[in-house]
Symmetry: C2
Subunit: 524 residues, 2 copies
């Protein structure tokens, strides 16, 4: 599947090609309002990415990654088929260890598209992944949820639906994500059906498939076919799927199984070394980067072996651990440097990049949570990440999907979208007439230029309180987390489900019922 054929498919699917719509004024012009819902298109960055490595540094790390691939190799465990595929491709196989002749992975990656479209059932919500685009998706994976009223508890399918709805309602959330929380009230072997259905039923944005078993991956593809049609799914990306490496230097049977299903179905895989540096990678940034590059290269190249042209994303989740307690830490300098460096490596390789989000280790949606999240999210945008999992709701090292944190985060996402539009240098942006009109010692509040621009001039937070101390105190001295609590309830109460063709809905429900009836419940 080439980029060009995707473009044609995109046109065929009724989605329009976006120009450099960016955030800010351009984003506002491009805002899609339907039934009172305000949604921004995915970010098309007009600002440059920030780079922490120069040419020499990048070359050193690339050479080290090749050394890792050649000398140390990577294990593909419990998957004889994968080993055979690698042998046929020219790799050196020693037990489950695969060693790659110099340049093999890069050669295989020549068939990977530099960017691709993931289609949504609402063509207006389709997103372009790669290039100067940034797509925000919610938190992925927490077994717990929390809110300010009831605290922390195991997640249920109702929570899952709520987070899908909150994501749908958030203007700067471009993607419905995947496991927005783990609905532990549903059997392990069946919950993927309810999760995929919830994304389709309660949102119209693009979403992610199940990766916990090859059969569940296949179910995800089959359900997507009910929505998009079999032929369309075969020729276009409608699912993006998270394939974690077992760092260091291992891919396991489960993830390889899901990878093969999705790649062969022409669906996108995000090959993500999951790194807590110091445990799963060296304690240094440069060492971690070389390992990440080696792992991601091998995984993405394997996807190309499964189906040349299958969309792949260079992913990484990188944090550090406390060398005192072993606990993961977030929002510290080292993971930021890893993120910036890995983004550069992905750009040079010519593949889309996934990393970052609004990560934090805090147990409460407090100052720690916000500092840590901001110090992940801003690098995420500035590095030029293309696909951003965990961009809202993440709390407590990813163990918890927090309702309030979700609202705090989506406010930040909207700010990032505005920032990404850069500085408007049009005549109106230059505002010389305003300066001439006002002159020394006066103010700009009433001038013509301000009157013409004030509604859209400055970002307006949905959470921040900028009232006077006295007014804030009179209103109960609320902290941000309390305002977020009020807001998420209002948003859920305002939610209206997007339309879904009743025939498609019925076919999905039939599919789910048949699947559920075909096997006993499993809880492990």
């Amino acid at each position: 599947m080439t980029d060009e054929s995707q473009s044609q498919a995109e046109a065929g699917a009724g989605s329009r090609r976006r120009g450099r719509s960016g955030g800010g004024a351009a984003a506002r012009r491009a805002v899609r309002q339907s039934g009172g819902l305000t949604k921004f298109p995915a970010i098309s960055r007009l600002i440059n990415p920030y780079e922490v490595l120069n040419e020499e540094g990048l070359s050193i790390i690339e050479a080290n990654a090749e050394t890792i691939l050649q000398e140390i190799g990577i294990e593909f465990r419990d998957d004889p088929e994968a080993l055979a595929m690698w042998r046929d491709a020219g790799a050196d196989i020693d037990g489950e260890r695969v060693r790659f002749p110099k340049g093999l992975c890069r050669e295989l990656l020549k068939t990977a598209p530099a960017e691709f479209t993931q289609f949504a059932r609402n063509p207006e919500r389709s997103v372009r992944i790669g290039g100067n685009n940034t797509v925000f998706a919610p938190v992925y994976g927490p077994p717990f949820v929390s809110d300010f009223d009831n605290g922390r508890r195991y997640a249920t399918i109702e929570d899952f639906r709520n987070f899908v709805k909150l994501a749908y309602m958030a203007p700067a959330m471009h993607h419905s994500g995947g496991t927005v929380c783990e609905p532990v009230d549903i059997p392990v072997n069946k919950r993927h059906l309810d999760m995929v259905y919830s994304h389709i039923r309660f949102s119209d944005m693009p979403f992610m498939g199940s990766v916990t078993h090859p059969d569940r991956a296949q179910d995800s593809v089959d359900m997507a076919k009910l929505v998009f049609g079999s032929e369309f799914v075969d020729q276009n990306c409608v699912l993006i799927n998270l394939i974690n490496a077992n760092s260091p230097l291992v891919f396991d049977e489960t993830m390889l199984g899901a990878l093969k299903v999705y790649a062969r179905a022409g669906q996108a895989t995000v090959i993500s070394p999951f790194i807590l540096a110091g445990a799963m990678s060296p304690v240094t940034v440069a060492g971690t980067l070389a390992q990440i590059l080696a792992e991601a290269s091998a995984g993405m190249a394997f996807a190309q072996l499964c189906r040349p042209g299958a969309p792949v994303v260079f992913g990484t989740f990188a944090s550090s651990i406390s060398m005192q307690s072993g606990a993961p830490t977030f929002g510290t300098p080292e993971p930021s440097l890893v993120l910036y460096g890995a983004a550069q490596l992905a750009r040079r390789m010519g593949v889309p990049f996934r990393s970052g989000g609004s990560l934090c280790g805090s147990k409460a949606a407090d100052a720690q949570a916000a500092y840590e999240s901001a110090h992940t999210l801003m690098p995420t945008l500035l590095a030029g990440v293309n696909f951003v999992l965990h961009s809202a709701g993440w709390l407590e090292g990813g163990l918890v999907s927090s309702y309030e944190k979700f609202m705090l985060d989506v406010d930040q996402l909207a700010m990032m979208q505005k920032f990404a539009a850069g500085i408007d240098l049009s005549e109106n942006g230059q505002a010389l007439d305003a300066l001439r009109e006002v002159g020394p010692g006066s103010h700009f509040l009433g001038c013509a230029h301000t009157q013409a621009n004030f509604e859209t001039a400055f970002f307006r937070s949905s959470i921040a309180d900028n009232n006077s101390y006295e007014q804030w105190e009179a209103e109960g001295s609320q902290r941000a987390v309390q305002r977020a609590n009020t807001l998420y309830k209002k948003v859920l109460s305002d939610y209206q489900a997007p339309e879904l063709d009743p025939a498609i809905n019925e076919s999905l429900l039939d599919f789910i019922q048949t699947k559920k009836d075909s096997m006993p419940d499993a809880f492990t």
Copy 2:
């Protein structure tokens, strides 16, 4: 005063020339420990600044600033001497309005040093301002203080001393600042004496002089002379002083009076347009940048008229207002863009730059405060700001110096210092041996490379809680603000005053007493 003569003076004053010591490993090597006190040297950034404007954008804004200076002009109010100086320099004077022939300000700025040293009474704490250096200084100006136990109240001299002590104790705080809070329990016309004395007595870092009246500026210079000697003060910068423009396009008598005292004494002035965009400047980023450049250029050029070679800093404080309520807002995208753009303009002009900090509008040290602060502080570092006022303690739009916010912020400053060191590409940083030793499927916790590096590998927060949920709950489910409360008390209790020559101390106390006795108390 040329840069070269400063270097000689620096050598003469016993301070060593710093190389590119940076943060991280280099900073740790350079850490100065005395009496158990850990202090980092000022940041010497090893990372590139982030740039939001290209050559074309910069040229547009520079041309617009020249248009403002030529056509609209700037008012120098209630200061006939200043007008006369401008007339002599070739400017066009119309009442109090000064219009500048094209290029005049830039021509005058050729005598301004590109960077300079501000000396501290402890030569180890002297800082280099300009170039790739970043110096963090505390919040400046709040009339209130707050802490978690007692809430918000008017500041006193005891609070002032406490913040000087907290700054002295913070590893990544490089400067004692100025009005860390406004000690309203001391008469308006005398409190500058106690403030300057507190910086000298309770810290040994560089500090700022009073700007609220020319006489108080002179008192600040005279007290500095008691510490450093008259000749040294005449030839070297020992005070850096905040001169705000009355934006738009006005300098007033008070600020001009202080500016003249300091510039003529060879001391540094930070010429800072104080902008709430939409009120004091146009509602657009590019318009605001042109105005800032015009104001800062005129102010810095005036300092060169007062004494060619006097150190000047291109300053800006830029935020936005809520176009609904008129309240200032912080941590939003537009001020970040202004900050990045202004830093580029200052670099092109070849003068040091001041902006940013840990600004927020929140009334509590909560998630809002942290998000907003982080979204000011990270741009501050990435833009390459040289002198950072308000880098810790700022709350509620600058009305409050918060004890807890101070501790939260200085933790962030230490992270910024580590980030600024960039990626270590030494052989140890590359860590190939660790990867060879560990290989696939194992972990790095016990390997030789980890053992050799773990103590300094990752940033260790003094505030963040990364324990398990259960442990956190057992310890009282404390929010970050509560941990910061505990910490600030511990730091104050650990504080030990740096040594001060008793003869100097006595001369300062005599000077203060004489001054205080010479005039009645004034409270307005």
